[in-house]
Amino acid sequence: MENSSERLRRQKHAINMEELPENCISTILSFTTIRDICILSAVSKLFRSAAYDDSLWNKILPQQCYQILPRAVDPVTFSSKRELYFRLCDSILIDKGTKMFWLEPSTAKIGYMLSARELSISWGENQRYWHWGARNDSRFEELAELLLVCWLEVQGQIDSRLLSENTDYRVLFVLKLRVDPPHYGWGDLPIRFSVTTPDGKQLESRQLLMERQRERRRIGGGWMEVVAGEFTTRVAENDDNFHIKFCMEEVEKQNRKGGLFIDGVKIEPKAT
């Protein structure tokens, strides 16, 4: 064992954290959080170098990103993995602009938004009932505007393998009630939202869109994000079914309703 003079000698020449090689600092940082890594970049030049190192961000970037890059509408250029990470946090349009992809900065979890075109809308191609056009405040080139229907049924699905594993997600319909000309038919009309997971389990809720719109207006207006349901991605257990299905419908009372904009459906990792 070490005697006291050996220990004194060792402590006199005690090495400081600054004397660790950069790759060791990077390894240390890899065991902290992404937020910590970014804050610690400001400790010293050594820390900045370690915190910006490609090997670190390589571990953080989900593998799915590399399959996504060739599908981007605008080519994603980057001179470091860190730069790639934050570019993806800003969100990119993929698949000819029909979907949006992003990463949550503090967790590196994957988020998607499907445009209205990616959804199955009953009677959606009938120009008497639905109109497709562009709006300044849309995330996509086109969105769907409900003119008038009795049978409202909007469905969609996503392959859960595209998402982050072992992650809690929420499915949100991004909607807005039209002001001019005014929307109609939504008062006291519960709309049924549901999310079905690959194992067949279904979560459903009935919500009043005018209530959701009022809540949104109170915090400054803009698009409503109506929660259709939640699910948790699991490591693929069987090869049969990995689709998460979601639906917004009103097919019971079937009264006439109109004046609803659908920008799309967001599949968003839940904030922890």
Binding site: E6, C24, T27, R35, A42, V43, R48
Partner: protein, 153 residues
């Protein structure tokens, strides 16, 4: 080579130390040297002092033993935790040594301990606790804070 073969290691203070080949092979750098030059001559480790070398060897021995059946994950974990109950200076020396001899498990273990110490601390706390000098100019620091704005909010 016979599984009980002995490998001789020589540390910076000129001390010789024998270990089994299995223990020596836990360290990537030593493994490479053995593959290149065999085990008939001592393996030189000039950057590792006797004290640190013996700690590293202790760790390697634990891990060779823990690969035998009947050793639980919990036992390994609690042994690891006891192993790293050392002062800060020793911890950094272990990191340097693990890096030098390329023992990834030991490197990860020791780096995790330091990471737990720095997680959630403010910059000022880091500078003070670890006696690290902020060598940025005010403009450079401002630039980094700006580049990482989201984290500081």
């Amino acid at each position: 080579m016979a599984s009980g073969s002995k490998v001789t290691l020589k540390s910076s203070d000129d001390e010789f130390f024998d270990v089994t080949e299995a223990v020596a092979l836990e360290c990537g750098a030593i493994k490479n040297m053995i593959e290149d030059i065999g085990i008939s001559s001592p393996i030189l480790l000039p950057h590792v002092s006797r004290k640190i070398r013996s700690k590293v060897i202790q760790y390697c021995k634990y891990h060779v033993e823990s690969q035998k059946p009947g050793v639980s994950e919990d036992e390994i974990k609690s042994r690891d935790q006891e192993f790293v109950k050392v002062d800060q200076a020793m911890l950094f020396e272990l990191i340097l040594a693990a890096n030098y001899v390329n023992n990834q498990k030991l490197l990860d273990l020791t780096c995790q301990i330091v990471a737990d110490m720095i997680k959630g601390k403010t910059l000022e706390e880091i500078h003070n606790t670890f006696n690290i000098k902020n060598d940025f100019t005010p403009e450079e620091e401002e630039e980094i804070r700006h580049e990482n704005q989201w984290a500081f909010e």
